[in-house]
Symmetry: C2
Amino acid sequence: MKTLNRTANFYDVIRERRSVRLYDPSVKITKEEIKELLGEAILAPSGTNLNPWRFMVFTEPAIKEKLLPMASGQQQVVDASAVIVVLGDMNAYTVENADKINQRAVDAGYMPEEIKDRINNSVQDYYGSVSEQIKKEWQMLDGGLVAMQLMLAAKARGYDTVPMLGYNIEEFRKEFNVPEKLVNILMIAVGKAREPGFPSVRLGVDEVTYWNGNL
Amino acid sequence: MKTLNRTANFYDVIRERRSVRLYDPSVKITKEEIKELLGEAILAPSGTNLNPWRFMVFTEPAIKEKLLPMASGQQQVVDASAVIVVLGDMNAYTVENADKINQRAVDAGYMPEEIKDRINNSVQDYYGSVSEQIKKEWQMLDGGLVAMQLMLAAKARGYDTVPMLGYNIEEFRKEFNVPEKLVNILMIAVGKAREPGFPSVRLGVDEVTYWNGNL
């Protein structure tokens, strides 16, 4: 697969990925490369493989300028090469969507027809019986999975990122007429750092880990 | 840093990671290696770097057996070398926690004292004013980020994983006396595949991507 015929040390990628807020505005990323990057990101898993993720990609300077007031003037939304807003499609949690995806798996010879039918039934039972609120939580989880893989895949290509929750979701949805079925998950700026991100600390593993049920 | 002095091709890792449900029960992973793995996972970012993630790790056979009925008899919770339940600490979204983490950044010379104070104030304003429901959604997002990095880090070490939502959270919480402040995010089985995972399909990038505000 062309997009994956590359190399990058996984451990360098996870160690060198840092949140970067100052970008070189002269750097452009081609649409083709952004598509490759998204293709790598969506190798991430999602609940019942329903692929709920959707991506609004902003690369045109005039459109990125519209994001600036929504993001409290955080300059990275303009200076970064691309701003990718990760959304989740609430209609992904339906039998129609499950059938669409899994029919392709059947056609590719990855899945027997009867497994597809069984998954359809379980999607009906499982997703059909939970509240919109729980589905929203699952969207956030699935969105987090794909967003992490996206940020790592960007770093593997030599790009920096910053995940952003600090923007006005209501204004964003109004400006771009985002339909109700799409929920906002995370905004990610992608580009080349003008200045390196700050190192940061973490709570230690022993502070956040509990063994064999001992809390 | 010892734990990162290793190599693995990032592109192999993201391409070869698949959800695996059949594990070799004879494979043990040492506590030391699980701690290294978690140390790699928590290099992931989190909202305001509040590190809300917590991990309940199950490796003892007798304790893993307790998970079996909660997980509708899915054998991977017993056969996998470890089951890691990712949780989120709702108390992470407090000034106390922000100050604890950022004081360490100040002490390490990564952060000026006045930035720490400014973050404390913004945590007070930002997290102090939102509902528990929104915080839960942020937990799911932050949990998704760290869970993805955990699954990739496991693959980089040659282990397989499967993310699981299909277990009874109420029974789990009762059995292990999980305090209210910890919310369940995702269960992940980690081990060596007895049989390879199935290949799977994804919606195409063009089906899930919108450019420059055109939905």
